[in-house]
Structure formats: structure tokens, C-alpha cells
């Protein structure tokens, strides 16, 4: 599997399919464009299959397994041809790697398991698989950054050091850590709409912990959490830029942050 990675620069790198995720597709396309750029800079051949939509988490987490199964099969069939599948979201990558195999049976379970060995969340792929380096490019200058570890990424996929190491490598930036960084921000998919008051309390705690770090940017790897925290920051009139980690790593900081106007 690693043989393609050993190729010197310039020689064709691994073929990567980007699973865009529905939230990036609809609300923040720059996350997908920045992901493509980062992967290409690291030598990958990036393909975006056009038959993709959503990984099925909303239905799955709400207990509608019957609706999720055909969607999961569709996603597997679309992504299978790749050497690697890369996802700019811990929870969607976790859905494919951890939950598809449990949801499916027989041949489809085998296919799900096989795909799970080649599917990676983007910071894990860049840092652990590609061992991406800044090389001769100058480091990207960032104001102080804090990082929100999204729960699915942290617990299902063990994403913790990867974004921090990449920020160090690409941006010379040390994360100002949040208090209670391992506590959920209150998004939880449909939870935030089903139990808004509790969710509101949780995201308010998260926002306050972020503000306490005095960082100017809160970064994270999951748009769901980021939309939640950015939305709360806007509602409370608090100034903190909320951005996806790939925006920072690719220096895409000119456009408005999540939830900010022009």
C-alpha cells in the first residue's frame, strides 16, 4: 500500500477520492477546494466522484437504519475504486470506517471493512499517511489559534495530535488549548435541533472556553461543530474567527470565516 508513497516527487502519487461531505458541499465549499489543494501539493491525484451526496449520519444517528443502509451501499460503491478515500470530517470518516461495517451484512460488510482500511480523515491522511511537509514554502502566518477536537474524530478515529502537528509544520503555530477540550460542543447532529436548550448550554460553555484562551481563531476538523460554535459566537456577538483546519493549512484566510458577513 505504501509503495506509491515512496515515489519521489513529480512521479504520479496515489489516487485519492475526496468525499466532500454534505456540509462542505452546501455551506462551505472552500473546505473541499482547500482539501484538494493540500492533497495535490502533497503529490496526490485527486478525484471528486460526482455521484456523492451525504454519508447518512442524520438518519443513522436518529435510528433510521433502514434509510441508511442503501445510502451506505451507494457511498461504498462510489468510493471503492480509489487507492485512498479522504474526508475533511472526523464524523463522516468515522461513519464510513466505524459504522458502515456494523450496519451492513454479508458481502457488503466485507466491502465496507475493506473500504475502511483505505479511508482517512484529512489531517490523519496528511500527517500520518503522507507525512506531508511544508518543504521550502514559508510558514503561513496565523494569529493565536485554539482547536476544537470533535468527538467522533477524537474517540472513533483517535485524532488529537495530527492537526496540532500539521499546524506546527505548516504554520509554525502552537495551539492554545481549550479547557475541557474533550467535552462535546453540543452539536450532535439532530440533537441540537431536538434538544435546543441543552445544546445551547453546551455550545455556550464551549464558546466561553474558546474565548478564555484569547485565541483569535478557533479551528476544527468537523463542519457540524464549527457551524454550531460559529453560530453561537455570532448570536452572542463574540469575535472569534471559526475556520476549518484545512483553511489554515492552505492559507485560505482572506474570505469571511464561518458565519461572518462580507
Amino acid at each position: 500500500m505504501d509503495k506509491q508513497l515512496d515515489n519521489p516527487a513529480g512521479v504520479q502519487g496515489p489516487s485519492v477520492y475526496l468525499f466532500v461531505t454534505c456540509l462542505a458541499d452546501l455551506l462551505r465549499p472552500s473546505v473541499a477546494f482547500d482539501s484538494i489543494r493540500l492533497l495535490e501539493d502533497a503529490g496526490c491525484q485527486v478525484t471528486v466522484p460526482l455521484q456523492q451526496t451525504c454519508c447518512g449520519q442524520p438518519a443513522y444517528n436518529s435510528g433510521d437504519f433502514e434509510s441508511t443502509v442503501p445510502l451506505a451501499k451507494q457511498v461504498i460503491a462510489v468510493l471503492e475504486p480509489a487507492d485512498y478515500v479522504v474526508v475533511p470530517s472526523g464524523s463522516c470518516a468515522g461513519m464510513i470506517c466505524q459504522h458502515y461495517p456494523g450496519l451492513l451484512e454479508g458481502e457488503w460488510r466485507e466491502r465496507a471493512l475493506e473500504l475502511s482500511t483505505r479511508t482517512f480523515e484529512i489531517t490523519t491522511f496528511l500527517n500520518d499517511v503522507l507525512k506531508a511537509r511544508r518543504g521550502k514554502r514559508p510558514p503561513i502566518t496565523l494569529p493565536p489559534v485554539t482547536y476544537h477536537d470533535s468527538c467522533a474524530g477524537l474517540r472513533e478515529l483517535g485524532i488529537k495530535q495530527q492537526p496540532r502537528e500539521l499546524l506546527r509544520e505548516f504554520c509554525d503555530s502552537e495551539v492554545a488549548e481549550l479547557q475541557q477540550t474533550d467535552v462535546c460542543c453540543g452539536f450532535g447532529g439532530t440533537f441540537c435541533a431536538k434538544m435546543p436548550e441543552i445544546s445551547g448550554k453546551m455550545v455556550n460553555d464551549k464558546l466561553n472556553n474558546a474565548l478564555a484562551t484569547e485565541a483569535q481563531i478557533l479551528a476544527g476538523g468537523d463542519l457540524g461543530c464549527l457551524l454550531n460554535i460559529a453560530g453561537r459566537a455570532r448570536r452572542m456577538g463574540r469575535d472569534i474567527e471559526v475556520r476549518h483546519i484545512v483553511e489554515l493549512l492552505s492559507g485560505d484566510l482572506d474570505g469571511p470565516a464561518i458565519g461572518e458577513g462580507k
Binding site: 466532500v20 442524520p58 468527538c151 474517540r155 435546543p196 457551524l227 454550531n228 453561537r232
Partner: protein
């Protein structure tokens, strides 16, 4: 115990509105995980221990018929009377019968979640028995007429000031200084000491039942359970069938997990094993002992996909680590068990219909599973319960319909991209100046608490396809 789980959202709302209690819960949420982490880190091989005990528990449940039978034989040999209760009502009646046979009027009770589940205290009190909880936390809430907010620290929702007011009101002891928690503990000690010495029946629970020798294990810090087990002439142990473990060493292997997960202690003060009535020549101890084994749907759980839930050791770690529990407190859950374990046990032990909100009080964050000493996949079991709600149409119809529509559309990429390609750019046009929406149709749950960030522009798929065409 009366159930109010159907009011979860209202209960939660009320709890969130109580500022001082919410602040105290925030403090506990910060503090209890640190204590637990330190205790776990102090035990090299905690993960191996978890796996070992998990295998033992699995083995015990797989062969529960064998072990229950062995336990019963030894318990009888040890001189106990063993009773079986299919339901909570049956357990309550058995206990009342025993008390009445001895013309007992005073009962000293140790902490037992099983008897909370069956509502034993109310049942005995209706028959004019004086039942006193003797665990300090349980005593406090009993005096206050409340229910436990936490399975381990039942009165942690009360401040020392509130306990002081309560004691001044309930204990007729005149003027006295109760300014420190230590003063309150001393007062409860002296009030309850009298009750211990006068009680005719002691009732306790069990942390484990040991098949190989018929002993039951009791773990406390206060020693109140031991006083209940040793002073009154009659002892009744109320417990449930899934507590059985093969050997004493299995019970104490589990104890290593329990103490660290529950209170972050390396060891609780009293770990006691009781076999039965006093032996010949003994100077004290009960002369008659009963063991009442409750089923109350546990055998249904044993036969179901929720079987792993029977491995729960009631340590409370999932409560302490659940951001929803720490936000709203235990009373919101409206029954005996709270937090993630409660959100699973309540529907299984009562009805899913009445507790339909509870499995939804979860963001699948996975923190509970991470700390669970029994390695129970709590988020997965909660999701399975949501699946059952979906199947039984307990999920509100607009949610069911919305989710099905979304999933259907997602299975048709061309249509999906057509519709999102129409809607998203429009939303962008309206929202781009401000960057977010304060209100949005059909998203009131979201926008009641936070703005909805506006889309950045056209969808990625639109932009990507346009870019490929241009090349």
C-alpha cells in the same frame, strides 16, 4: 418510584434555569473527571483489568443459570432464606411480609438502587413502618422528600446550606452550630445511631453475589450498610439476579474498577462479605437473614440485544462524564437511574413509550463509553433504542418524514444536486451580507440558540462542475 421521564425536556429546562445549581454542576463536571482520571492513571493496566472483568461478566451472564443455581445452593447452606421476585411489587410484598412476621416497626436501610427501582420505602411506609435511609446522601433526600439526582452521590445537588436548613427543620435539637459539613455529618451520625440500635430489620443491597460461597459483597465508605447488616436482628438483602459472579476474587477484581470509576478512590473504607445469620457462639449479628432476588425485566434484557447493559456496575462514571447529565442534573431524567446508563435502563426496565426522550438525550460523543469500567457500548445501545423508537413510530412524524426524505434525496445524486443547487445559492444571496441568519424557516431548534451560518456561495458541486467544464 414514580416516573417522570416523559417530562425530560421540561425538567431539563427548569434545571437549566436554576443558576446556582447549574454552576455547582459545572464545577462537578470539571472536578469529577479529574479525580477519576488520576485514580485510573494510578493503576497500571486499567485497560487489561477492564477487559478481564468484562470477560468474567460475559462468562457469568452466558452461564447465569448455572451460577444462579450454585449461588442459591450456597446461600441456603449458609442459613439464608432465598426469595425470588418477578416484579418490583413482588419484591416489596416479600419484604413487607418478612417485616410483619417479626412485628417490625423500625427499618434501617442501606443504599440500594434496586429498592429505589421498586419504590420499597413508600410501600413499607404505607404499611406504617418507619423506614430510615442511613446513607447520608439518601438520608438527606429522604428527609427533603426528594429523589436521588445521582446513583452514587444522591444528594450532591444540595448545598451545605440547604442541608443545614433541612436538619434545623427536621431534627428537634435546639440551637446549635451547623456551619461546617462536618457538623452536619456528626448530627446525622448521632440521629441515625439511635435508629440503628432500635431497628428490628436492616435492609441493604449488594454490589455482587458470589456463586462459589454464597456471600454477598457490600461496598461503602460510611459503614452505614454494615451497621444495617450487623445490628438489627433481621437482615434482608434486596438485589437483582444479574449481580452474580463466579468467585470472590472476581467480585474484588470488579471492586478495583468500581472504586476508581465511582469516586476516584483507590479503595473504599468498607468492603464486606456477608454469608448469613449469626453462627453459634457469635456475640452479635442478625439471627435471621433473607435474600430477595429481583428480576424486573432483567431476564428480558438478558435475552435481548441489550444484554451488555446487565454488566453495568452502577459506578456513575458515565453520569459524571456526560455533558447532558452535567448540564441538566439527575432529576431531569425522571426516574431512578440517570445519565447514559439511565437513558438505557429506564426504557428497558419501564417502557420506551414513557421514556422516549431519554435515548435522544445523547450527542453520541462517546465520552461515557470511554470511561465505562464495564466497556458497555453506551452510545450504540442508545442509538439502537432510537432505532426501536423509529420502528415503533415513537419518533415525532415530522422527524421521521424529514429524515426519510433527506435520505431518499441523498440516494438520488442528480436530484439532490439539482435541488441543493437551487436552494443554496438563494440562501447565500439572502444571507451573505450578515453572514448568518438569526431566524430560518424549519430550523427554529437551531436558531433558538444560535445563528445559522449562511452558505459561502454556490454549492461545491456546482462550482466544481463549472470549473471542469471551463478546463
Amino acid at each position: 418510584m414514580q416516573q417522570h421521564s416523559e417530562n425530560f425536556l421540561d425538567n431539563a429546562s427548569e434545571a437549566l434555569g436554576n443558576k446556582s445549581q447549574a454552576e455547582f454542576r459545572d464545577l462537578m463536571a470539571l472536578f469529577t473527571p479529574l479525580v477519576r482520571d488520576a485514580a485510573v492513571q494510578g493503576f497500571e493496566g486499567f485497560d487489561q483489568l477492564r477487559s478481564h472483568v468484562k470477560r468474567i461478566r460475559q462468562h457469568s451472564l452466558d452461564n447465569l443459570d448455572h451460577y444462579l443455581d450454585t449461588y442459591e445452593q450456597h446461600a441456603l447452606e449458609n442459613g439464608n432464606q432465598v426469595h425470588f421476585a418477578r416484579t418490583g411489587d413482588e419484591m416489596n410484598s416479600i419484604v413487607l411480609d418478612i417485616c410483619q412476621q417479626h412485628q417490625a416497626t423500625r427499618i434501617a436501610k442501606g443504599k440500594s438502587m434496586v429498592t429505589e427501582e421498586t419504590g420499597l420505602n413508600d410501600f413499607l411506609q404505607r404499611a406504617d413502618l418507619e423506614v430510615k435511609e442511613t446513607d447520608l446522601g439518601e438520608y438527606i433526600i429522604q428527609q427533603a422528600g426528594e429523589t436521588p439526582s445521582h446513583i452514587v452521590g444522591p444528594a450532591l445537588h444540595k448545598t451545605a446550606g440547604e442541608v443545614r436548613e433541612l436538619f434545623l427543620d427536621k431534627h428537634e435539637l435546639g440551637e446549635r452550630d451547623l456551619s461546617e459539613p462536618a457538623d452536619l455529618v456528626s448530627e446525622a451520625r448521632s440521629v441515625l445511631r439511635r435508629h440503628f440500635l432500635e431497628a428490628q430489620v436492616g435492609i441493604i443491597g449488594a454490589n455482587a453475589l458470589i456463586a462459589e460461597n454464597g456471600y454477598s459483597m457490600l461496598v461503602t465508605n460510611e459503614g452505614n450498610g454494615d451497621l444495617c447488616a450487623n445490628l438489627p436482628p433481621v437482615l434482608i438483602i434486596c438485589t437483582s439476579v444479574e449481580r452474580i459472579l463466579p468467585r470472590a476474587e472476581d467480585a474484588t477484581a470488579m471492586l478495583r474498577l468500581l472504586v476508581r470509576s465511582a469516586t476516584g478512590q483507590p479503595q473504599t473504607c468498607y468492603t464486606s462479605f456477608y454469608s448469613g445469620p449469626r453462627r453459634e457462639g457469635d456475640l452479635d449479628g442478625p439471627v435471621e437473614t433473607h435474600i430477595v432476588l429481583l428480576d424486573n425485566r432483567r431476564t428480558d434484557i438478558l435475552a435481548s440485544d441489550y444484554r451488555e447493559m446487565l454488566q453495568c456496575i452502577r459506578c456513575g462514571a458515565c453520569l459524571n462524564h456526560c455533558p447532558i447529565y452535567t448540564s441538566v442534573g439527575g432529576h431531569a431524567y425522571g426516574w431512578v437511574y440517570q445519565g447514559p446508563m439511565g437513558s438505557i435502563l429506564t426504557p428497558l426496565l419501564t417502557s420506551l413509550e414513557q421514556s422516549a426522550a431519554l435515548p435522544n438525550a445523547c450527542t453520541s460523543c462517546g465520552r461515557c463509553e470511554e470511561v465505562c469500567p464495564s466497556l458497555i457500548p453506551l452510545p450504540e445501545l442508545l442509538r439502537d433504542l432510537r432505532h426501536q423508537e423509529m420502528e415503533q413510530k415513537l419518533t415525532p412524524s415530522r422527524w421521521r418524514f424529514g429524515l426519510k426524505m433527506h435520505a431518499w434525496l441523498a440516494r438520488h445524486p442528480r436530484l439532490y444536486q439539482f435541488f441543493t443547487g437551487l436552494g443554496i445559492p438563494l440562501l447565500h444571496l439572502v444571507g451573505r451580507r450578515r453572514g448568518s441568519f438569526r431566524r430560518l424557516p424549519m430550523a427554529s431548534g437551531w436558531t433558538s440558540q444560535r445563528d445559522f451560518p449562511s452558505p459561502q456561495g454556490k454549492t461545491f458541486m456546482q462550482q466544481y462542475k463549472a470549473g471542469r467544464k471551463a478546463q
